[in-house]
């Protein structure tokens, strides 16, 4: 990356982290929600 590796890979790494968080967080929330709702019923 011509000496810019740290910045470029850092950016893509952060980008990937944000994408993964966005996808995973609602999935976990859904699981937790469903668990709570079936328990209280």
């Amino acid at each position: 990356m011509g000496g810019y590796g740290l910045y470029v890979w850092g950016s893509f790494g952060c980008g990937l982290a944000v994408l993964v968080w966005n996808v995973v967080a609602p999935k976990l929330a859904r699981r937790e929600l469903l668990r709570q709702m079936t328990e209280t019923e």
């Binding site: 000496g3 950016s11 893509f12 980008g15 944000v18 966005n22 929330a29 859904r30 469903l34």
Partner: protein, 249 residues
């Protein structure tokens, strides 16, 4: 009136929930494909910029994040307006479904901007118009999220957040123009220049792909978050029970 019935049917929680279930996978798949192409092509195959060398590749993360941070705030403000005027449940849920997604992309735009700024301007941070308004935008998102969490009643929370989002939407352009007087280091927009584009096709295709991919991905995430919000608000109603019964089998 008849032409509006489809809208009401769509906006009712159970039918929207089912629609979201059908749409979300397509959004997710297309987003994954476009982002994968855009980023891999952008990282390894797109030609090197003659001025910025390889550092320009940050554009494939930075521009989609920055575009989304503003678009999502606008989307949130529109949802806020609809929630206030028509008291639509779906719009109320949309405010809080959008806010965390928008905040995450705003933070990403700031971090990648800093990582891009260091090799190009020699500083991680400068107090210029775009950076500052992006930072204020992040705080506005945090404000909406914080306000939401402070309320117990979701409807009161939604209306309070809606008011804040709308006041905030007036604030952002004012911040932007207030700092514009200070000489802006930020480069002009790369893609949207009128006339001939300042970027070659080999660089532009992965950029468009990652831009559209990021929009589709946030669409997917917002649909999923909306579903969660609807489940939470409508717990105890017949359609949620039915759904719970089905998922247990």
């Amino acid at each position: 009136m008849a032409s509006w019935t489809w809208f009401h049917r769509l906006a009712s929680p159970p039918s929207f929930f089912r629609l979201a279930d059908r749409l979300a996978p397509w959004f997710g798949l297309l987003a994954a494909a476009l982002l994968a192409y855009g980023w891999i092509d952008g990282l390894f195959f797109a030609p090197e910029d003659y001025q910025q060398k390889d550092a320009y590749r940050i554009i494939y993360v930075h521009v989609p994040a920055a575009a989304l941070s503003l678009s999502l705030y606008m989307g949130m403000a529109v949802a806020a307006f609809v929630a206030l005027v028509w008291r639509m449940k779906l719009a109320e849920a949309a405010i809080i479904a959008i806010a965390p997604v928008g905040a995450s992309f705003t933070a990403l735009a700031l971090v990648t901007g800093m990582l891009w700024g260091k090799p190009m301007w020699g500083a991680y941070w400068v107090w210029d118009a775009r950076l500052t308004s992006e930072l204020v935008l992040l705080f506005l998102y945090f404000g909406v999220i914080g306000l939401w969490q402070a309320f117990e009643d979701p409807r009161a929370a939604a209306r309070a957040c809606a008011l804040l989002a709308i006041v905030g939407v007036i604030n952002v352009p004012i911040v932007k123009y207030s700092v514009d007087w200070w000489n802006s280091l930020h480069q002009g927009s790369t893609i949207l220049k009128m006339g001939k584009p300042s970027i070659t096709a080999a660089m532009a295709w992965p950029l468009f792909a990652s831009l559209i991919g990021a929009y589709l991905l946030s669409g997917y995430v917002i649909l999923r978050r909306l579903q969660n919000e609807l489940l939470l608000r409508e717990r105890g109603t017949a359609w949620v029970r039915e759904l719970l019964g089905a998922s247990r089998v």
